[in-house]
C-alpha cells in the first residue's frame, strides 16, 4: 500500500497537442480517488501515465515515495482493471488470476491460496475452471478485478471498468467495487466519465476538463461548493440550472435580476460575498432540488415565482418539471403528489440558501 504523488505532469502528443497540462495530485495511502470528466479531458491519459503505459512528457510521478518515471509497468507494483476487461482468452479464470503471480515465481500453494481467497471475495469460486468466453460481462469484470486483487499491489488502477456493463449490473458492480475496497483498503485511482460513479465511490473526486484539474474534494464538497461553472454543471444529475443574471444593489440589500423580470433577493448573510459582483454579468446557478413546489414558506430566503412547464417527467419518487427561460432549459424537482401539467402555469419556490453566482467571464463561482 502506498501514496501516489503526481507532480506537474504533462502529456504532449505530436504536433504539441497537450492532453494533460501539468497537473498536481496527492493521493494518500488507502484513499479511493476518482478522476472524472468528459471524454478527452485527460483522465485516462493521467491514469495510463501512473500505470507506466504512457510516457510522461514532463513532470514526476511517485508511488510509495519512489519516483517511477523510468520504471516499467511490471516493476511499479500496480494492478489495473481495463474497460474491456482484457482477460487472456486462452487461459482459464484461475490461470488468468494466477498469471501475475506465476511470472513473479510465487510458490504454487501461495498462488492457490491467494486466487481462492480473491475468488471468494468476488464470489466467482465456481467459475475458476472456465474460459473467459464462457462468462457473462459482469463475471468477466469480476475476474479482471480478481486478477488485480491477487497481486496485492501498492495501487489499484481502474480505467472505466463499468462502462461496458448494462445499467443494472453497473450499479451492482459499483457496490461490489466499494465493498472490495473497504475489505482490501488498497490505494485506488479510478477513472470514469460517470459523475454518479465518481460521487458514490470516491473518498475524493478529481474533476478534470481540457487537461487540467478543475477541483479536487470529497463528493459532498464538490456538490455543495463547486469552485467553477464546469464543476457546478458536471456534478449532479439532473445538472444545475444556470440563468444569465445581473446583481443589483437596492439600498444596501442585493438582489438578482433574472430573465422574465424575476427578481430574487440575495440572502443577507451573502451580501458581503457578492458585493463585488454588483453591476457585472453573472450566472445564477441553482440545483433542481432547490427549485420545488411551494411549501415551508416560513423558512428564510425562499422566493416564489411563476413558470409554465413544458415537459413533466414523473420519476416515481419525484417529478421533474422542465421549462424554458430565454432559451435555457430549466429543471425543477417537485414532490410527485404536487399537481403539474404541461402548459398550465404553476408556482415554484427557489431556495436561495443554496444559490450560486458565477462570474460569466472567468467561470469562477463567487
Amino acid at each position: 500500500m502506498a501514496q501516489v504523488s503526481v507532480r506537474k505532469i504533462v502529456k504532449a502528443y505530436e504536433g504539441n497537442v497537450q492532453a494533460v497540462k501539468g497537473i498536481d495530485l496527492e493521493i494518500a495511502d488507502h484513499e479511493f480517488v476518482v478522476l472524472v470528466g468528459p471524454s478527452g479531458c485527460g483522465k485516462s491519459t493521467t491514469l495510463r501515465m501512473i500505470a507506466g503505459l504512457e510516457e510522461i512528457t514532463s513532470g514526476e510521478i511517485a508511488i510509495g515515495g519512489t519516483v517511477v518515471n523510468d520504471i516499467p509497468p511490471r516493476d511499479r507494483d500496480i494492478a489495473m482493471v481495463f474497460q474491456n476487461y482484457a482477460l487472456y482468452p486462452h487461459m482459464s479464470v484461475y490461470e488468468n488470476m494466477a498469471f501475475g503471480l506465476t511470472l513473479r515465481k510465487f510458490p504454487k500453494d501461495e498462488i492457490a491460496r491467494r486466487v481462492n481467497n480473491a475468488a471468494r471475495i468476488l464470489d466467482i469460486e465456481p467459475l475458476l475452471e472456465r474460459k473467459p468466453k464462457a462468462l457473462s460481462g459482469g463475471q468477466r469484470q469480476r475476474v479482471a478485478m480478481g486478477r488485480a486483487i491477487v497481486r496485492d499491489p501498492k495501487v489499484f488502477l481502474f480505467d472505466e471498468p463499468l462502462s461496458n456493463l448494462d445499467a443494472k449490473l453497473r450499479v451492482q458492480m459499483r457496490t461490489e467495487i466499494k465493498k472490495v475496497h473497504q475489505t482490501v483498503r488498497t490505494t485506488t485511482v479510478y477513472v470514469t466519465h460517470d459523475q454518479v460513479e465518481a460521487m458514490t465511490l470516491a473518498d475524493r473526486v478529481v474533476v478534470m476538463n481540457h487537461g487540467i484539474i478543475e477541483q479536487v474534494g470529497p463528493p459532498q464538497e464538490l456538490y455543495h461548493h463547486p469552485k467553477t461553472r464546469f464543476v457546478a454543471g458536471f456534478i449532479g444529475s439532473p445538472a444545475m440550472n444556470f440563468f444569465p443574471a445581473r446583481v443589483e444593489n437596492a439600498s444596501g440589500a442585493l438582489r438578482v435580476l433574472l430573465p422574465n423580470d424575476i427578481v430574487l433577493p440575495v440572502p443577507a448573510e451573502r451580501t458581503a460575498r457578492y458585493q463585488g459582483a454588483v453591476g457585472r454579468e453573472v450566472l445564477f446557478g441553482i440545483r433542481p432540488e432547490h427549485l420545488t413546489e411551494v411549501k415551508n414558506l416560513d423558512r428564510d430566503n425562499i422566493s416564489v415565482f411563476e413558470v409554465t412547464p413544458e415537459v413533466i417527467e414523473p420519476m416515481g419518487m419525484e417529478t421533474l418539471v422542465h421549462f424554458w427561460m430565454q432559451g435555457a432549459e430549466i429543471c425543477a424537482r417537485i414532490d410527485p403528489t404536487t399537481p403539474a401539467e404541461p402548459g398550465r402555469p404553476m408556482q415554484l419556490a427557489a431556495d436561495l440558501n443554496h444559490m450560486h453566482l458565477i462570474d460569466a467571464e472567468s467561470g469562477r463561482v463567487l
Partner: protein, 300 residues
C-alpha cells in the same frame, strides 16, 4: 422509385411477397448454391482425377491411342514403385521437406516479430516501413532472379540446396508479415498492457499472451509460407542443376522428361504424391484454425 409508383397508383403496392416466401426463396438459394458448387468441384477435380487415372496406367496403356483417357483398364502401381525405388525422387522429396520446413521456421520467426513490432510498437517510420514491406512483395520473382543469380553466384551457392533456404524467405517474409500486421492490429492492445502490468517483460508477453491469442493469424501465415515454399519453381529451376540438389518441383520435370520423351505415368504419380504434404498441412492446421479464438478476451 417504388415510393413514386405508390403515390401515383391508387391501389397500394404489395410491400412483401406472400407468406412463406422466405422459406421458398431460401430453398431456391440453396439449390443455386449447390449447383454452382457442383460445377466448381467438377471443374477443379478434373486435373487431379486425370493425374490419378494416368498414374495408375502402364506406359503402353498411356501410349495407346485407342484408349479412353478417363478410364484405366489394367491398373498398376508400377509407376509409384519405380519412383520410390529407382532414381532421385525420394531425394527430391527429402530436399523439398528440408527446404520448406526450414523456410517456414525462418519466415515465422522473422515475420511474427516484424509484424508485432510494426503493428504494436509505435516508432518513427513504422507506418512507412509496413507499407514498404508489402511493396517488396509486389516485385515479381521473374525480375528478381537475374540479380539474385549474381548474388548467389558471388556467395558460391550456385547449385546448392542451401541457396533456396536463403532465397525463399524473400517471397514469404513480406507477405506473411503483411497479413499478420493486419491480424495483430485486431487484437485488443489492452491484452498486452494487462500482461505488462501483470509483470511480463516484452518477450514473455509475446510468448505467453500474444502468440497464443494471435494463433489463427499466425497459422494462416504458416499455411501461406508452406505453400509458397513447397510449390516454388522458378528459383530452383534457375539455381539448381544437379539432380541430387533439386527439389520436387524441378526434380520431376528434369528427371522424368528426357528430350521429347515424357514418362507420363511417373510424372503424374510423382506430382500426385508431391501434392500430398500441402493437403496434409491444410487438413491438420485447419482444425486449429478456428476463427474467434479471441472470443471472451474483451467485451466482444
Amino acid at each position: 422509385m417504388s415510393t413514386t409508383a405508390a403515390t401515383e397508383s391508387t391501389a397500394p403496392l404489395p410491400m412483401y411477397h406472400a407468406a412463406g416466401s422466405i422459406k421458398r426463396e431460401r430453398r431456391w438459394a440453396l439449390i443455386g448454391a449447390y449447383v454452382a458448387l457442383a460445377v466448381f468441384v467438377i471443374f477443379f477435380m478434373f486435373p487431379p482425377f486425370h493425374m490419378l487415372i494416368t498414374s495408375l496406367k502402364s506406359s503402353a496403356e498411356i501410349a495407346d491411342l485407342n484408349g479412353n483417357p478417363w478410364i484405366v483398364s489394367a491398373p498398376t502401381l508400377q509407376n509409384y514403385r519405380e519412383l520410390l525405388t529407382e532414381g532421385n525422387y525420394v531425394i527430391h522429396f527429402r530436399n523439398s521437406i528440408i527446404v520448406t520446413l526450414t523456410v517456414v521456421a525462418i519466415t515465422m520467426v522473422i515475420s511474427t516479430l516484424a509484424a508485432f513490432a510494426l503493428a504494436r510498437m509505435r516508432f518513427w517510420g513504422s507506418a512507412a516501413l509496413a507499407t514498404g514491406v508489402f511493396l517488396t512483395y509486389l516485385v515479381p520473382e521473374t525480375l528478381l532472379f537475374i540479380p539474385l543469380f549474381q548474388i548467389i553466384g558471388g556467395l558460391g551457392l550456385y547449385n546448392n540446396l542451401g541457396a533456396m533456404i536463403l532465397i525463399y524467405p524473400t517471397l514469404t517474409v513480406p507477405f506473411c508479415t503483411w497479413i499478420m500486421i493486419g491480424y495483430f492490429s485486431s487484437i485488443p492492445k489492452e491484452l498486452d498492457e494487462a500482461a505488462l502490468i501483470d509483470g511480463a517483460n516484452h518477450l514473455q508477453m509475446l510468448w505467453k499472451i500474444f502468440i497464443p491469442v494471435a494463433l489463427p493469424g499466425i497459422l494462416a501465415a504458416t499455411i501461406f509460407a508452406f505453400t509458397v515454399s513447397w510449390a516454388q519453381f522458378l528459383y530452383p529451376m534457375a539455381f539448381l542443376v544437379s539432380s541430387d540438389q533439386m527439389v520436387l518441383t524441378v526434380g520431376i520435370v528434369s528427371d522424368l522428361i528426357r528430350g521429347d520423351t515424357f514418362q507420363w505415368g511417373k510424372i503424374m504419380a510423382g506430382a500426385l504424391m508431391a501434392a500430398a504434404p500441402p493437403l496434409l498441412v491444410y487438413a491438420f492446421l485447419m482444425d486449429y484454425y478456428i476463427a474467434g479464438l479471441t472470443a471472451g478476451a474483451t467485451k466482444g
